[in-house]
Symmetry: C2
Subunit: 146 residues, 2 copies
Amino acid sequence: MKFSKKSEYGLRALLELCETYGGRVLQRHEIAERQNIPVEFLEQILLALKRAGLLASRRGIRGGYSLIKSPEEITLGQVIRILDGPLAPISCVSKTAYQKCADCPYAAKPSCPLQQAMGEVRDAIANILDHYTLSRFAHTQLAEGS
Amino acid sequence: MKFSKKSEYGLRALLELCETYGGRVLQRHEIAERQNIPVEFLEQILLALKRAGLLASRRGIRGGYSLIKSPEEITLGQVIRILDGPLAPISCVSKTAYQKCADCPYAAKPSCPLQQAMGEVRDAIANILDHYTLSRFAHTQLAEGS
DNA sequence: CAGTTGTCTAGTGAGTTGCTCAAGATTTAG
DNA sequence: CTAAATCTTGAGCAACTCACTAGACAACTG
């Protein structure tokens, strides 16, 4: 029940790209250094985000990456799904990647306890992450003291 | 962001054990056949649940496993933590297995965006699973039609 | 004691994760 | 035009995890 490093790095990279949104481009090594991410691995992540339409890139000596969608329009759920796949804890409750369980004896029956419980979990996770925008993410201030 | 087969099998096995709670013991092959689980793998799961104090077992020709805690007292959260480890999506927000992130540049700072967001997710998951009892789980009837 | 069951430890093949490397394409500076 | 800096692509790889298997052993029953 963990998120991968890929998602974590991806979100941290987007934090940097949010800061220069609308302004200059950022090069992979800039992001990598500031966020302490292995540069070649980061690149794969940036390319995936580019293919998904969140980032633009330019090659050559003045090249780099930049955000092309507003941080208001991007949610953490989108980013995690791009980098980590579906949010659902088991695939028989995924809305974006549903798959019938092969071996579950309840698959044929009208009600599956696992599906019920995991469905609730899926909805709770999606409900948070699909409403959590990058701009809110980037402006986080912890409310609690100590 | 997936649960393992171990948790899934464990929960399905507990479904069977709930039915005979207070009555007779169940042998591994009975559970395995009914729930379509490889019997040797199931055994490891049952042993883990036994070590955690949920199950009792008896060896010998009349042996088998039985639930020793009431299905009302056992939550899905407990079971999943036994079989799959902590619920938290990243370890810096785990309450049962906290670990400081080594490479995160926000680890030292007062606020970490990732920690904030993932903390919400953790709480939502825990909130559902730690209040979902086995007895409710075993008596699931899907409410929705179609 | 013999047979049936659970207990324990170790191993294993396939797949995933996290990361590295090398060769190529594109852009800009000079 | 050339060279340097950047992104692009794809392959490779060590370590780990997952799902499962095997086998020796302990305990219980009749």
